[in-house]
Subunit: 452 residues, 2 copies
Amino acid sequence: MSTEPRQLHLNAFLMTPGHHDAAWRHPDSQPHRATDVTYFQQLAQTAERGKLDSIFFADGLAVWGRLRSNVSGGLEPLTLLAAIAAVTSRVGLIATASTTFNEPFHLARKFASLDHISNGRAGWNIVTSGSVTEANNFNLEEHLDHAVRYQRATEFLEVATGLWDSWADDAVLLDKESGVYADPDRVREIQHAGPFFQVRGPLNVQRSPQGWPLLVQAGSSEDGREFAARHAEAVFTAQQTLEDAVAFAKDVRARAAAHGRDGLPLILPGICPIIGATEAEARALEDELTELQVIDYGLAQLSNMLNVDLSGYPLDQPPPEHLLPTEQEVNGNKSRFTLVSDLARREGLTIRQIIARLGGGRGHRVVAGAPEQIADAIESWFRAGAADGFNIMPPILPTGLDAFVDHVVPELQRRGLFRTEYTGTTLRDHYGLPRPDARSTESESLLASSSL
Amino acid sequence: MSTEPRQLHLNAFLMTPGHHDAAWRHPDSQPHRATDVTYFQQLAQTAERGKLDSIFFADGLAVWGRLRSNVSGGLEPLTLLAAIAAVTSRVGLIATASTTFNEPFHLARKFASLDHISNGRAGWNIVTSGSVTEANNFNLEEHLDHAVRYQRATEFLEVATGLWDSWADDAVLLDKESGVYADPDRVREIQHAGPFFQVRGPLNVQRSPQGWPLLVQAGSSEDGREFAARHAEAVFTAQQTLEDAVAFAKDVRARAAAHGRDGLPLILPGICPIIGATEAEARALEDELTELQVIDYGLAQLSNMLNVDLSGYPLDQPPPEHLLPTEQEVNGNKSRFTLVSDLARREGLTIRQIIARLGGGRGHRVVAGAPEQIADAIESWFRAGAADGFNIMPPILPTGLDAFVDHVVPELQRRGLFRTEYTGTTLRDHYGLPRPDARSTESESLLASSSL
């Protein structure tokens, strides 16, 4: 009776106009604030008002070709989150950053700095990047092969965690009397020499409140799942059905257990909640957004997901079978490809229907309904073992986040599934994850399964 | 009679305990706040209270070996400045970043983001980095040759400015009705292909309030002066005597004029003002700080500047002539080397005396006195053509900045030399510099003299 029920974790996935691809055309959205820091600060404060675990920004290192029909050209996530840290005090701050186009010293340093600035609220969504457009901005004509990117990511993480552990917690002595600031024996070089990186260290930032930022990952391919199982503490994933979501969670957990990481990583499927006072109101909003979709944009996005050009094919027929490549042929975002080809093959949807279906959450689960129905959709997956929490992707911002915080969160709190106050101060506290000890047995073991 | 007198520009150079190398041992300093964002936010607010043009952070990409005897392991400047931007509204925000160990796409993006976040207050102090310790953190056993670093810096700047200009000011149309967000014809690829970088572009950040961050530079070697003359809008420099300072300013201005850049760059020598209510009080503070110096630290720093190991030589004799290499032999910070060897050769100072002399400003001018005397020191150089303003380097923080803002600034204002209110909102406004037009004749001409 007195046992605390298992608690949900909720992350707010923020992007300028909201997650529906037509959001920017809806009167409730604020696409003119794409580069306005106060817009994002206000969204973060809303998430904090709702006691959410964290906010999160996706990222890419190029303008995607279709800037004609959607918001682009916003702010770099780490820089933005530092400005958000200054006006919030509890909500976690998760930035996406690429291991393919960064150097580990820079990134380790920036996350350590953000962790200090936010008093322990930094998280890193580790991505390997998947597009030739990004490679073209970094001296490459082709992007690295999928498997090579994950090898690089693994070594990158080994270097970064080594750097975060290079200052002991008690390295700074600050003895004004004797003139000793730090103990050189408690600050160590990492002397890393691997196939991708040679980094001497130590980091030039003192050990941060969390030790390491929370490590998040979102790849769902074979390589991605293995990486998550070995290294991630939380996983963002796109799942359309409860069955698939449960299977994914079981698979990743079993892989992690095989590496001695029981209970990790936390699984956070995306959900795009279209909220109305009634279900009818929510459906009307969903239809209104579908009406506002720019078909050329949806077609281009779908073509991008499938790695084929769909323009010229009849919109009201399914995409021809021969256009759907096998997963082996895709050197990009494998998990998103699988979702799309399932919609075509399993449900037999037409191109137009697929575009409408993907409009809300780009492959993530979309649920339209009254607040209780959204809470039901969350609770059912949570109780069925499909999720430890959710990546909340409001279709329109800021209104969709306001609705979630003001109406869905209280319902989840009434059901005893979600905190009514923060009980800790760091992002790791919110997710119930331990602080890694510098060079302790525990932190070593987190990397012990590295393939390098 | 009605002509506005020429106005000084003042930049506050911030570092944790203050600029005197013994500052951290003085009771007024706060070395325990090296990673405390509120410490730096408060310093920035003090600078803003004093109507200063800007604040500035130096940077390096490694822990220098002597962490035993001085503060190290602080925060990364760009991340820190974003958090400072959130709690200030006028003061400019200048971050140091290296062209040798960064990719132009990342850095262009971060400065554009900071410029948006600060509503047009970003500045970039362009450095080429000079130590093998830094190279060792970026996959290199040796650092790049001095001349190669400047070639890379020149191409880096060409790419970065191209990226900042890749979105026209009017690229975003935001037509909700017709479904057109941006005009693809007003966002262009830069298609850069050079010896160091291949970058397609466009940048994934919309054009920022200032267009480009203010471009600052601090190298005083032959290569450094040429780079400043061609590209910098402001120059930080270390000068010990009025004669040297005037010569330096004339030289850089003449070089710039030869490239068609009349009146640029602004010259901002460093000054470490040791302020007391009376001159005697200031001298007492200076002596107190010299007393607190850790001689091993000073010796290591001096050895580093000269690129020779001075340990084992008698402290009360000048460094032996044969230990002073020629400038050609130094592949590091050439300007600082020249200053030190002048102290030895020109003034015949002993090793101990040089360490004491360098303790206050690491080669920058140190002036101890009452507020009026500090103002005299500033005014005399300003009127003699040695400076357009100064890089203020308080010996101890926060007290040294408080003293400057509360006592020296009002004196400069009484003399009609410094603003009493901000008249513009951007960093370029404060320095009286124009906003570059995207791809206009003017912005082209700023790069026209590039050697690439």
